[in-house]
Amino acid sequence: MEAPETHSFSIRFILLGILLQLTSPATAQSIDLSDWQSLERQARGETVYFNAWGGEPRTNNYLAWVSELMLERYDITLQHVKISDTAEAVSKVVAQRQAGNDDNGSIDLLWINGENFAALKENDLLYGPWAESLPNFKLVNADRFPEMLEDFTVPTQGFESPWTRAQLVFYYDSQWLAEPPQDIRQILEWSISNPGEFTYPRPPAFLGSTFLKQALIELSDRDPALYAPVSSAEFERLAQVLWEYLDALHPSLLRSGRYFPASAIDLRRLMGDGEISLAFAFNPNEALLSVRSGELPPSVRSYVLRNGTISNVSFLAIPYNASQKAGAMVTANFLLSIEAQARASDPDHMGSTPAISISDLDSNARRSFETITRDLAAPSAEDLDRKLQEPHPSWTPALERAWIQRYSAR
């Protein structure tokens, strides 16, 4: 007589548990991506924690402007959490998963790409797919620009939404350097005959890691292995050439390679002081913007190496446990709007390259992007057409670790 009772009790208990599990994420926030208007209504009053690299004041000021508009138009309080390395945010999400925090995460929106996106996606730590349902997503014209659907060779599958483009662009001070080197090998030759004129940020600062990847791509003649997950055999084989290159390059660098600038801004400062005559940045308009602000002398010119340079897209992702997903999506959609993209590309503000396809816009809208008059300090449009794809994301941490092992204590 007793047995069925306890039995039914335990079944009821398990059912309740399953029910709770099923309903808890749903009750936390049920989101209907097909009805954008109700999603915007749902997002009203939310506070969205946007974790984004805070190392560039221009970007921070742009995001402050976005925050103002988000509050005004959508009643969303956008908090820019300035982080120094996106890996911090990744490990925060991982830690929250370990602690069982599955629906009240501290990050709602994340500026991400490359190895960090790969890590989160691989471990099912992202919410989605949602990105391709954003009303403004059509503006990027992914049919013409397939890179909007691929992040360092990894398909985005709607788990992240593009918001800006980046490309490695070199710049030089024409006062000291008349004809800048045109590829990675020329940089070595030039540096050896002009010691102390060049350096690069020390990895794992992202700009320094990008320089390593650029050199590796060129030195290996775009070896296809770079576009597949790294294996130790392939790494040994390809990196060998890079180490030989760096071993030859370092003695000719600024401070004979015994010091490397800590960040992209440090590198720019060395250029502004006239300590070096060749540098590089990930924002094609970096030189133009810095000349305008007085940080760089007016004699600075930009260009792209002749074999092309690494270019990538910056994306926005929503962690699986974000507590304000609707607000995060409304924000991501706004960042893709013509208005936000125009402001971002305005050299008086952030000066970045838009993610949306300008040529597809009507002439009226296109005009708001044409404020960039041709400027001597900016790279030419033809230059910017020479793009190289980022290697598979697994190469980045492998290169960084190996660099630190080899060069951090010489």
């Binding site: 490990s91 010091y259 800590a262 992209a264 300590e275 630190i404």
Partner: protein
């Protein structure tokens, strides 16, 4: 109740520091239950040995730990031997406190802006004297062996050791003894070194030990001026501690214990140097030589201190110029234009850290002041001048910060008490307390006891006589103690950074964080704010008593 004050003072200091140090040992040997480490192992140490350049990191920490106190102490002694009673001496006595309040991080930034290849000094001599059209390619800041770090530390520690020496000197009656030596035919500087120095040194041994520990384990100064390939041990421990991958905590713990060992080794080396110096000194005194080297001592002593002063002033100027500089091409000595933009653009960002800084420094200093006053008052009422264990007071300065803070965080995290304002204030309190005690105790003990006796005769309770008589009489020293306490709190980096879990930011923590990724102008703005806060404190400590006692001539004479 008062009787408990002195006990609680020592308990509050000793327990977190000793416990923190002990707890840091556990994760170093693999025990860290929250991260799944439940068994003791040597893995972290095996990993630590494999870290590239770890040997060099230790060497640099040792080098600055031994050479900083050695050179700073030599400068202070040479100065005291040659300048006592001179005009320079009068100046220095007045300048030493403000110099001391110059926060380490701001001073380090200023020094970097002064002596970098593109810094103010290089611009001053270019292109005229040097012929440099572009900055010379010299590894000055972040140099491989930490020589600039050493230089920065010496410049900062000279005022500290000088202040400590000046405080200890009167009890030695130096002028009498030097006169005696002179009457025996000794030149005054040689006489001072032979007679006063051996008696002064034992009185400042604890401050010297504090300098050794600080120099071997500093994080903020090393982040700004120290080597980067590889950095000092302390900087590496902090980086491991902050690593996104929490498994690095084990390595960080082992590194922290290694740091403790390194600082202890520096102290051991110092003790050997002490023995050596004692032998040399005895030999030198026994020679009976009365004048050899007198000119050398005289000129180096009188020359070195103005150089230190010049370096500090130059750093200050370099900071101010950068904070208001428009475009500034090398080798122009001054910017082509001046601007407030760096300030107006950052006003918003400055607000929260500024408020936090004030809250933390006021909170920690006032609680320290209350406890110190209670201790001193109980000491007075009980009638026993208890020699409060001085080394215990120095404890927060004698254990490397990163070591005990590490264990302390492990402890508080396990109690789910982390990243809160109260925790940061408590952390600051530990460092503020010794300074408040040291600066207040002398004045408190020396106040004429008859004032309180008169009050008691007139029927005032001990409590009333404390409030109505002693506190007003001691207002000026109390305010000075507050100013010193707040200056110490404002300059702290590591306790804010670690106990605040990166969520609570102060002017100092933000300024140091900018060191690797901001323009010089922006850094200068933060550094100027950082150094003006303690200055304002000292200014208030000077003016408030004057304003308050403007109608009380007698009160103004009391010091």
């Amino acid at each position: 109740m008062l009787r408990w004050a002195s006990h609680s003072l020592l308990i509050l200091l000793a327990v977190p520091i000793l416990l923190g140090t002990l707890i840091a040992i556990l994760p170093a040997f693999g025990y860290f239950p929250t991260l799944g480490g439940t068994e003791f192992s040597l893995d972290a140490w095996r990993e630590l040995v494999q870290v590239p350049g770890i040997k060099r990191s230790i060497q640099i920490s040792l080098l600055s730990g031994v050479l900083t106190p050695l050179i700073a102490l030599a400068l202070v002694f040479l100065y005291l031997a040659s300048a006592s009673g001179s005009k320079l001496d009068n100046w220095m006595r007045r300048l030493v406190s403000p110099l001391l309040s110059f926060p380490h991080a701001a001073a380090a930034f200023g020094l970097a802006f002064l002596i970098a290849p593109s810094g103010l000094l290089s611009r001053l001599i270019s292109p005229g004297l040097s012929g440099w059209e572009r900055p010379p390619d010299l590894l000055i800041i972040n140099d491989t062996w930490g020589l600039t770090l050493l230089f920065g530390l010496i410049v900062k520690e000279v005022p500290f050791l000088l202040l400590m020496s000046l405080a200890a000197l009167p009890q030695l009656q130096p002028s009498k003894h030097v006169e005696l030596a002179r009457s025996l035919g000794y030149r005054p500087t040689i006489g001072w070194l032979k007679v006063i120095a051996p008696n002064l040194y034992p009185l400042i041994r604890l401050p010297v030990a504090a300098v050794i520990v600080f120099a071997s384990a500093t994080v903020d100064v090393a982040l700004i001026l120290g080597p980067t390939l590889p950095p000092t041990l302390s900087v590496r421990v902090l980086a491991w501690f902050n690593d996104a991958d929490l498994n690095f905590r084990f390595l960080a713990a082992a590194g922290a214990i290694l740091q403790l060992g390194t600082s202890l080794l520096a102290i051991t080396i110092w003790l050997c140097l002490e023995k050596l110096c004692a032998v040399l000194w005895r030999f030198w005194v026994a020679t009976g030589d009365r004048g050899t080297g007198e000119r050398l001592v005289f000129f180096s002593g009188r020359g070195a201190m103005p150089i230190v002063l010049l370096v500090i002033t130059g750093s200050l100027v370099a900071l101010l110029v950068n904070a208001f500089a428009g475009p500034w091409r090398y080798p122009s000595v001054l910017p082509s234009s001046w601007t407030f933009l760096h300030w107006t653009n950052n006003f918003q960002n400055l607000l929260t850290p500024l408020l936090n800084t004030l809250l933390i420094s006021v909170g920690s200093t006032l609680s320290a002041l209350v406890l110190v006053l209670a201790t001193l008052e109980s000491e007075r009422q009980s009638g026993k001048l208890r020699a409060t264990a001085m080394w215990l007071l120095y404890l927060p300065l004698l254990v490397p910060q990163i070591v005990f803070l590490f264990g302390f965080i492990v402890l508080t995290e396990s109690m789910r008490w982390q990243g809160t304002m109260s925790l940061v204030i408590f952390g600051h309190f530990l460092f503020v307390l010794p300074y408040v005690f040291l600066s207040l105790s002398e004045a408190y003990r020396q106040l004429d006891p008859r004032w309180s006796q008169v009050a008691s005769t007139l029927g005032a309770s001990p409590f009333k006589s404390f409030w109505r008589i002693r506190i007003p009489l001691l207002l000026a020293p109390c305010l000075t103690a507050i100013a010193i306490g707040m200056a110490i709190s404002i300059s702290l980096f590591l306790p804010t950074q670690l106990l605040g879990a990166g969520r609570i930011t102060t002017i100092t923590s933000e300024a140091v964080a900018l060191s690797s990724g901001a323009s010089r102008n922006l850094i200068a703005v933060w550094a100027v704010v950082q150094l003006s806060l303690p200055m304002l404190g000292f200014l208030a400590a000077l003016t408030v008593p004057r304003l308050l006692w403007r109608n009380r001539t007698g009160m103004r004479e009391i010091r």
